[in-house]
Amino acid sequence: MMAIHIHPLERKWLFVIAVIILLTWVVQLYYALNKSTHPPSNVEVIDSVRLHLNDGIGGGEFAETNLGVKRDKNGQLRVTMVAARYSFYPQEIVLPLGESITFRFASFDVLHGLHVPFSNLNSMVVPGYISEVTTEFTREGEFPILCNEYCGTAHAFMYGKIKIVAKEKFKL
């Protein structure tokens, strides 16, 4: 193997680069493993065409009567929502501040996305798949829940509302 010519100063710089990259990796891994801020990665399929029916994959999880905010038997808050041109259903929900909440989204038609500004609730909603995200809110107030992926010419009009209230004021 032929050696290549590297200036001593550049050698030092290469060392600095290695440290920067390693540090970045460590920080990333630390937050991924310890703070459990995971993007939706559940690889769970559903039939978007029959989302509203009680048969088929999903067993009616996204049927109209099952949408909204619920507490499961372990006490965990769960929000089930449908994204469809051009809104989120239910269109308005109320949630408590500072409590872990699991969201499950499915699309009725095309690709959508959703984002609640000033929070890390952000997800793609891909037809054929369920997106699950667990997070908590750190700011009280009324926020839009915005579609953030082009889904047709009225994409800008696709939004719902999410109201974050103090834990004591939250009732199911």
Partner: protein, 559 residues
């Protein structure tokens, strides 16, 4: 275009004694680059219109139909047409001059050009008539007119002709010059051609096997999760395909223009090889927020994503050192005295410095995009177009301008119409980019989603956005004026009666110009195999999984 035609024939006549490979390089270079800059100047005012429409400040402009037709066209022209033709033109020119040998088939090269151009014209019809308002990312299950996809495919196929040409050229040269070092500039161009073959395979598979069959009614359904996975294969490395020529120019053309020498030829090769191997197998940072891929794969791609920072950090060091050498050779003393001695009145030198400044800031933004969890704060917000306008529209495109200022006189034999105008143009593009993209990033942090033509949200948040829209508008105006200054300078150069004196095209030499380099830095075959292995690891299972997870397929939708 008439002016160009007469210039092309003038080249042929006046250079009857000029060798054939040089006139081919000039002609292919000029035609490809004129297509590129024509696409650019058509798309540019669309950007200005989009910023104005979106701001809700001009009620007369409001139209979702026109807006989405416009951003689809602007995106396709800027991302696919402008970049690809520029890169092809630069590549043909470089192959002719750096290798000093004939292209193996001129007919083949022109066939590729014509196929690609025909594809662009085809795709433009549905785009401009609002029949393909699916954005440059055209994610299923929404689909546009089949002609759009067929045109786009032809553009890619045409560009593959170019890739083959570059690879064959380097291979032939190595045969004819055993043991010699491939010139750094051509090593870069060829590795970028190979990068493009790898990169474009993902989107080509998506369009040919999933989208076109559905739009033609041959199949009825497809899986949007698979489509997004295949598109991510292309979406990251394509930005390196665009950026590559900018780096090549900094390493191989800038040092000489600056009146100095390249700090290190070998580190340039190392950076090029790294850009190749690290940029393709990491596309999942575009899928962090997607449900169809599991967390482990996303983490794996996250690690790889940070590795692409390495060649960029190496480049930053080498280019800064090169600028310092040039400043000191020109009499600069002391810790920073060399800065003022740099040839700031040379467009290539100035372009390099401005590009580096934009890259440094844009790169930090990229770190946030690439972060496994921080990404959720900005994913699909206006931060994202803010980011890529700064790095692509800023860093990369400013180098395309610089190349044009350097090349045009040497191709057509007429002096640049105005160097002063060129410098003003580069500075105004630089400031225009800051004024446009800084508020654009902030809008993203304030939660504004991307790809919206109006801001109807009835909450207090929307009111926060207004002042930033105004600043963006001012920046966009400046950019538009700057873009036209560029085109005017080129056209006036064609009309210039002053002859260009210095017609020589030579490339930078390094402080230690290597007589030999290790085989790994002089050949592509090892890296090609390495890429295959890395791609199987990072994309193998994530693609194969779609064969057995049993996704209920989607039917196509209009928009």
């Amino acid at each position: 275009m008439a002016a160009i035609e007469s210039d092309v024939s003038a080249i042929i006549q006046s250079n009857a004694q000029e060798s054939e490979h040089i006139s081919t390089a000039k002609k292919l270079g000029l035609w490809n680059m004129w297509v590129a800059f024509t696409a650019f100047i058509i798309a540019l005012p669309m950007g200005l219109y989009q910023v104005a429409e979106r701001s809700d400040l001009f009620p007369a402009l409001e139209s979702a139909q026109v807006y989405y037709a416009s951003i689809s066209t602007h995106g396709v022209l800027m991302a696919y047409v402008f970049s690809t033709f520029f890169i092809m033109g630069f590549g043909y020119h470089t192959a002719g001059y750096s290798l000093q040998q004939k292209l193996w088939s001129t007919k083949f090269a022109w066939s590729g050009f014509i196929i690609a151009l025909f594809g662009v014209v085809l795709a433009a019809i549905p785009l401009l008539t609002g029949n393909a308002s699916v954005m440059y990312t055209f994610y299923p299950p929404e689909v546009g007119h089949p002609i759009f996809y067929i045109g786009a495919t032809l553009l890619i196929v045409g560009s593959w002709f170019w890739s083959v040409d570059m690879i064959v050229a380097m291979t032939q040269w190595k045969k004819a010059n055993p043991g010699k070092v491939v010139p750094l500039v051509m090593f870069g161009v060829t590795i970028n051609a190979l990068l493009w073959l790898w990169t474009s395979a993902g989107v080509a598979a998506e369009v040919v096997f999933q989208i076109i069959p559905v739009t033609l009614g041959l199949t009825e359904t497809f899986d949007p999760g698979l489509a997004r996975t295949l598109f991510s294969w292309t979406l990251h490395a394509i930005v390196y395909f665009w950026l590559f020529p900018a780096y090549i120019v900094m390493y191989s053309i800038m040092p000489k223009e600056a009146g100095g020498k390249l700090f290190s030829d070998e580190m340039g090769r190392v950076a090029f090889v790294m850009l190749f191997i690290f940029s393709v197998p990491i596309g999942f940072h575009h899928l962090y927020m997607d449900p169809q891929q599991a967390a482990g794969w996303k983490l794996l791609h996250m690690f790889g994503t940070f590795m692409v920072a390495v060649p960029t950090l190496i480049t930053g060091f080498t280019i800064l050192a090169t600028l310092e050498i040039s400043g000191r050779l020109r009499g600069g003393k002391g810790l920073l005295g060399w800065v003022s001695r740099i040839k700031w009145d040379n467009p290539v030198v100035l372009g390099t410095a401005l590009a580096m400044l934009m890259l440094t800031v844009g790169g930090w933004g990229g770190v946030i995009n690439a972060s496994y969890s921080m990404n959720s704060l900005i994913h699909n917000t206006q931060w994202v177009p803010g980011h890529f306008h700064l790095i692509y529209g800023g860093t990369t495109v400013i180098m395309y301008f610089a190349v044009a200022y350097w090349l045009w006189p040497k191709i057509i034999g007429r002096a640049l119409y105005s160097n002063k105008m060129a410098l003003i143009q580069l500075w105004s593009w630089f400031f225009g980019m800051w004024i446009t993209t800084a508020p654009w990033h902030i809008l993203g942090l304030l939660g504004q989603p991307r790809r919206v033509n109006t801001l109807p949200y009835d909450t207090a948040i929307a009111a926060l956005w207004d002042p930033y829209e105004m600043v963006m508008l001012a920046g966009s105006l400046l950019l538009t004026v700057s873009g036209f200054l560029f085109i005017i300078n080129l056209v006036m150069t064609h009309l210039n009666t002053r002859k260009q004196d210095d017609m020589s095209v030579t490339y930078a030499v390094a402080v230690h110009q290597p007589m030999h380099v290790p085989k790994l830095l002089n050949s592509l075959s090892f890296w090609n195999w390495a890429m295959l292995c890395y791609m199987i690891i990072s994309y193998g299972y994530p693609i194969i999984q779609f064969a057995f997870i049993g996704t209920p397929q989607s039917t196509p939708w209009s928009y």
